[in-house]
Amino acid sequence: MGLQVAGLAVDRIDIVDDEPTVRLAYAEHVRDLRLEPVPEAGPLASLEEFAGEAAKRTQGAVCDYQLGARNYAPFHGAALVAAWYELGYPALLCTKWEQAVIDEMRRFRPRIPVLIKPSELDPDRLVAGLEVCIRELRGERTSSRRVWRTLVRVEDVSPDRNMRAYVVLPAWDNERVVRIPVTDIPEAVRPAVKPDARLYAWVNLGAETNEELFFDRWEVAE
């Protein structure tokens, strides 16, 4: 048993999903790679505690986004994959996503190298995904995840409780409006987030789709 993925010996894969039957289904994919699946039955401990423990007993993970429907974990999968990233541990976030989920996930995206839909996951893609994660953790980012400092133009800000900014990145696509929660922007920059404002941020301009985009290191354009 065991595989070499980008030079890393992998023999056990952690499986995090709040639905037991889904965990079993993922386990079959892992078994077909002749690796040992480690389905997490839950309830999971705190984010830091669980991330640290899992990273010790396995070499990679497949993780769902929604973990809260069954009192399975007090955090969601994006936060977990991002915490693992900090630990240098490769993990795939495997979920279907709607716009609301994209919004919630965006701030974690700098630390989520691979986002994949369950219907697209098979053993080959699992290995390919882990390889992308491992390479990124070593500093080798794919072109769609390389960040550049770029101008961000605020088109509009929705005034409701979950404030969202609607921004355009002329260097990415001058026609498309990207929605981001205002809370993703650091507090120091937030007062400047008003219609027609110009800001700078580091963004992965090679991203092909809206859900791949992420933002970092915001500044107000003088």
Binding site: H29, E98, S119, E187
Partner: protein
Amino acid sequence: VEEQMNGRFRFAPDILRRLGEELNPSPDQSIVELVKNAYDADAHTCRVELTNVDQLSGSVRVSDDGEGMNADDIESGWLVLGRSPKTPGQPSTRLGRHPAGSKGLGRLAALRMGSRARLTTRPRREPTAEYVLSIDWHEFDEVKVVDEVVLPIERRQRPPSAEHGTEILLEDLRHPVNRGDVRKLARSLILLADPFSADPSGFRPVLAAREFKDLERFVESRYFADADYHLVAKLDSAGRASARVVDFKGEELFGAAHSDLAAKRDNQPYRCPAIEFDLWVFILTATAFQLRTSTLTEVRDWLRAFGGVHVYQNGIRVAPYGNPGNDWLDMNLRRVRSPEERPGTNTSIGRVSITGGEEELPQKTDRSGFIETPAFGELRTFAQDAMEWMARRRMELADARRAQERAESRQRARQASRGIEAAISKAPASARKEIEQAFGAYERSRDREVSQLRKEVQLYRTLSTAGITAATFAHESSGNPIKVITLSIRTIERRGKQELGSRYQQILEAPVCAILHATDSLSVLGTATLSLIDHQKRRLGRVSIHDVVKEVLKMFEPFLAGREVSTSTEWADGHPYLRASQAALESIVTNLLNNSLAAFERKSVAKRAIRIRTDLKDTVLVLSVADNGPGIEGIAVADIWLPGETTRPNGTGLGLTIVRDTVRDLGGRVDALSHSDLGGAEILVELPILGR
């Protein structure tokens, strides 16, 4: 060491210009800095006089009745730049004031406003002395470093009538001060020492100008008692919040503990110094002012002059919070959502008072507010949470009021009915019967209408509940089971191919493909439900009609394929758009597609087809949705729009009503053909567009 020489930093005169001119952005702010020096000197009054300031030769005089200074104070205090006189948290003046000036940098900016500055000061401790210092800035142009210019401090005999205090005269202004600056200065001076407080600090700056007198009268008017709601929110030194809202009679309407205000942040304390936040909110309508002593115009003008939420640290205002155009709490942005329950900067006035906190809340060197430290972020969050809480409580109140109005309207209808019956009884006997019959008929038809409306409301509520339930369980009902099926069937497919080799195609391929296809269709259900209720789609904005139609078609793709319906589209040129919510347009297109799909159930058609077409006629876009179903039959074309009218046993009869109402709301109109060139019904929606 053979020899030791001493070096020291020295500064070119240009640094004075840069420090002075770049650190204070406007003349009014510069003068306010001198006034803050008067406050720090324990003055009770400080008078600012402007002479010919609209010209280059103008002068500014700032005089106070404070402690005054002797030669030593001037040399080691007033002339030293960059040293803070403050001890954080400790009042340090004789009257117990916290010094408000900023390390002499603001003073430098003010002194540089003129070509010459003259300081005359009479210390309280030396009753017969007067000290004079003159600065001619031209002298600094002639030297290489600042300390080459010597500034003599003259000690003189104080004129017998002169009291202690300090006077600064700025002459030959470098830039004229315009009327707008004077107005801003007047406002800044009035607001400087918290004029709203019942316990003012005893410091009253005065500007000798007409603009000031007008404003001063204004501020003294104090319309606080006319506020409909007064929010009093407090944060103690442990970061625990509390709040209450009182009405104009001073009676408490709502109260909140920390857990009510900080629920969103899991009751975490706010990490910033102790704060008191007052917000007076006005409902600026003629009705609300009917029984008040003040007029709507007075209060509106007063709010225009002083509205906004001002910030005071140790009793002295921190600009620019609450200045015109400074909406640091995003009040106006939040007000857009529900104007009735939320204050804006033009309908409210407020004050955030901070005691101490100089370390956690340091001010920027250029006096443009606080440095955006985490503590400042927390301060802002606290104020916003308090306002949010008040908005929710007011919303509750409004809901209760509406419920009461509904109950009262029924009672009023009954009373009116009895009134008419009484009136009829007084009519001549010959006409009475006829009137009674007519009124009876009217009442019956009105009752029918009311009953119909109630049913309609109930139907909307039922459908909403169905939608809410579908959305709540979208994840469980379609997400997880579909995930299991998809993942498992992929495993079966993979292992089947591996184990069975060429026999896989014969034995398993067809059923595996069928399951994969079916799960595709199923998964759309959850996605579609969640996509339709995305609350951001209800936001008004520029919406591209073609984009919305394409998006809905994409969402419907598996449903349409499952029902063997092919679609064709014909688009008008360009990208026509209008101002609407995406949800509104989606509900039009979705209901029209649903309508066509339902029609196919009534008739067997060889090749089911839906055609969507857009045409532009000047500024109107015509959206046509036609199908080759049975057309409109068994119901008059005009009646298809009526609520509850349906030819399907399980139909709600609301789809086309929603289309009609939504189109009307967007300023458009609807029409229908019972049989189009495709054979089935064609619905035509005309929408006025903004551009293409």
